[in-house]
């Protein structure tokens, strides 16, 4: 089973977050799967971690329609970060 460091799930629907987490548990080894209710919370976390450790999560599941900061706005901010390798997926 492939091992992945960190996965972020950004979605305002707790059921979907639960489902994703459950299904991921079946296919990958991952020490930390973190979820965020909206883009803003996730972006704040990622920026902070990136500043401190220079690492970002290997995989991000991103919802489009969310309150406060939606998927598009998150992406706009996210690509401004000086990250070399980028890996992300998204759901809607």
């Amino acid at each position: 089973m492939k091992k992945i460091n960190a996965i972020y799930v950004i979605d305002d629907d707790p059921i979907l977050v639960f489902g994703i987490k459950k299904m991921l548990g079946l296919v990958v080894h991952c020490d930390s799967i973190t979820d965020f209710k909206n883009g803003k919370l996730a972006l704040d976390n990622i920026s902070h971690h990136f500043k401190v450790s220079g690492h970002i999560p290997e995989v991000i599941f991103l919802d489009i329609n969310m309150p406060v900061m939606d998927g598009w706005q998150f992406l706009e901010q996210f690509i401004k970060l000086p990250i070399k390798e980028k890996k992300y997926a998204s759901t809607s």
């Binding site: 629907d13 059921i15 639960f18 489902g19 803003k40 309150p67």
Partner: protein, 611 residues
């Protein structure tokens, strides 16, 4: 018979006052009056005994023949031109008889008739002229002699009456030619008046000729007097049937044209170079409302329209007149002096005079106010429809997205449940299923509400006192307001009534006020300020807060969307503003927003005053 001594002039004859000569049958001059000798400047000693033909160099056969006949016993009179002095001489030749009634020669009396003769010639010429003129103009003359009671008609008058050559006119039968009624009465009165009061007359009357034709004539006459004594009437008589008929025809044509332009459902007019109206039809004069077409003639647009409209119209006139290019179907909004406005489709065409020079303009306007209004209504309707269409599509998107996410959750959770063996995990999944089901139910309720608002647009509106309504809502929200330490300032105009669906107004006020309080800044006491004003047929309610504000650049488009929230508030569901907006629009109002992040937000709700 003894031949008279021709050398001895008879003393008696010598003294005759007129130029007289006696010739014998050989045409030799026997006696002559001194006057005769003097008049013709003859030599008294040699004249006697010489032939009269050799004495007078007159080359006139008539004169010779007359003398020749005379010595044979026939008297004669001949006027000859005497070339030496350019004179006209009248020769009165009388046979000269002796005691036994034998012709022994001729007695010649010569008179200078030059002046008389030239008068005659002039008279003849004048008569000729009159005849010519009469022929040309068909003016005849007539004369009535009071003493003999005879009426004389010239050939033209006879012609006009179409009488036979033998017809003898009298004053009475002449009057009977006039057609009964006005014409006959008029001529009878005119003649009586002329005889009694010396008044001349000149009348246009109708006669019926001997052949039964109707003719229009100008009958003129005047009485003539000799030393204050009435002696007769003279006058002229002219056939004007042709003129009258053509006049009638042209007035008939004119009438037809007038009827035509008056019946046109257009305003038609002709203006001169100074833009003064010189012809208008009924529609135009009715529209101008100055009372009758004659009141409008000579007036320009400044007398009918307000200044702006008149100036525009004058400018158009000048452009057409100066360029000679017609202006066709231009849409003008014309405002009259009384303030009423009409939309016209105006055409202005250069009006050319006989010399093909532009003398003004021909104008035609069609009142398209109604069409314009309908067009406007149609446009509004299209706007409403396209807006509703857009809303429908939005709604469909919302519905599909929301239902889909719920059903996707269901199917996912159910899938987990089937494969899960751990009891704890199973109960956790079941709890989620139940939550999801509740959430779906709520979503459906929300959607239902929106559908209800948009379908029940014809709910009855009532007049509601806005200020009182806000006070009541404030009371209902007392607990909520105290919790947030919020203050409401109700500055709405007293007794202001708006026409609304009451339940919608409740929901709208409740929603906007709670929003204003909810999204306050923690460090500021929330203050909500409500006020009203009127604007373009709307009552505008402003709801002002000092809250966190919204970044309209980012969220402006989504603010009133369904399930859009912009705050991390627990109870923001993203449905309130969407429903409020739908309710406002269902009451034919609108909502606007202004906001500055960190300062506050103002919502302006427009309540339609008309319907």
């Amino acid at each position: 018979m003894k031949v008279r001594n021709i050398h001895t002039n008879n003393y008696l004859i010598k003294q005759l006052p007129k130029a007289t000569a006696f010739v014998n049958t050989k045409y030799e001059i026997v006696y002559a009056s001194d006057r005769w000798i003097a008049d013709f400047e003859l030599d008294g000693s040699t004249v006697f005994g010489t032939s009269i033909f050799s004495r007078f160099d007159i080359n006139c056969e008539d004169w010779k023949n007359s003398l020749k006949k005379c010595v044979k016993g026939t008297p004669g009179k001949v006027i000859v031109n005497y070339p030496i002095e350019e004179k006209w001489l009248e020769w009165l030749n009388t046979p000269w008889y002796d005691e036994n009634e034998n012709v022994i020669g001729a007695i010649i009396q010569v008179e200078d008739v030059t002046s008389r003769n030239s008068n005659n010639v002039r008279l003849e010429k004048l008569e000729e002229l009159i005849n010519d003129k009469s022929e040309g103009t068909k003016i005849g003359t007539w004369e009535f002699d009071h003493t003999t009671k005879k009426l004389r008609w010239c050939p033209i008058v006879r012609d006009i009456h179409e009488v036979s050559d033998t017809f003898v006119p009298t004053l009475e039968n002449a009057i009977e030619f006039y057609s009964q009624g006005y014409s006959r009465n008029a001529i009878s009165i005119a003649v009586d008046n002329a005889i009694a009061n010396r008044e001349p007359w000149n009348e246009k009357l109708e006669i019926i000729t001997a052949k039964g034709n109707h003719r229009w004539v100008i009958a003129a006459g005047k009485p003539i007097y000799d030393h204050d004594e009435f002696i007769g009437l003279i006058g002229s008589f002219q056939d004007i049937t042709h003129q009258v008929l053509s006049e009638e025809r042209s007035s008939e044509n004119h009438g037809l044209l007038q009827t035509l332009i008056d019946s046109l459902p257009l305003n038609v007019y002709i203006k001169d170079r100074e833009s003064r109206k010189i012809l208008v039809n009924k529609s135009e004069s009715d529209y101008a409302g100055l009372g009758g077409p004659e009141k409008l003639l000579g007036k320009d647009d400044f007398d009918v329209y307000d200044k702006k409209t008149a100036e525009m119209s004058r400018k158009e006139d000048l452009m057409v007149m100066n360029s000679g290019i017609p202006m066709l179907d231009k849409e003008d909004i014309c405002v009259k002096k009384d303030g009423s406005s009409t939309v016209f489709l105006v055409s202005k065409i250069p009006f050319l005079d006989k010399n093909n020079e532009i003398a003004g303009i021909i104008g035609m306007s069609i009142d398209v106010t109604d069409q314009k209004r309908k067009e406007e209504e149609l446009r509004k309707l299209i706007n409403v429809t396209s807006l509703q269409n857009k809303k429908l599509i939005d709604f469909a998107h919302i519905v599909s997205h929301n239902l889909r996410s719920h059903t996707a959750n269901f199917s996912m959770l159910l899938d987990f449940l089937v494969h899960e063996t751990n009891e704890d995990e199973r109960s956790k999944i079941l709890k989620m299923l139940s939550d999801s089901s509740d959430s779906l139910l709520e979503t459906l309720n929300n959607l239902n509400e929106v559908v209800a608002i948009n379908t029940n647009v014809n709910q009855e509106k009532k007049r509601v006192d806005l200020k009182k309504k806000v006070s009541r809502i404030e009371k209902d929200l007392q607990g909520f307001l105290v919790n947030h330490n919020a203050k409401i300032i109700n500055n709405i105009t007293e007794d202001l009534k708006i026409k609304v669906i009451p339940s919608y107004l409740d929901s709208i006020l409740m929603n906007f006020i709670t929003n204003a309080v909810k999204y306050s800044l923690p460090e500021r006491r929330p203050i909500v300020h409500l006020s009203t004003r009127r604007k373009n047929g709307y009552t505008v309610l402003s709801i002002d807060d000092n809250g966190s504000g919204i970044d309209l650049k980012k969220y402006g488009e989504k603010l009133f969307g369904m399930y859009k929230t912009f705050h991390n508030h627990q109870d923001s569901r993203g449905i309130g503003l969407y429903i409020s907006k739908n309710q406002i629009e269902a009451m034919k109002g609108k909502v606007e927003v202004e906001s500055t992040v960190g300062v506050g937000t103002t919502f302006k709700i427009y309540f339609n005053e008309k319907d």
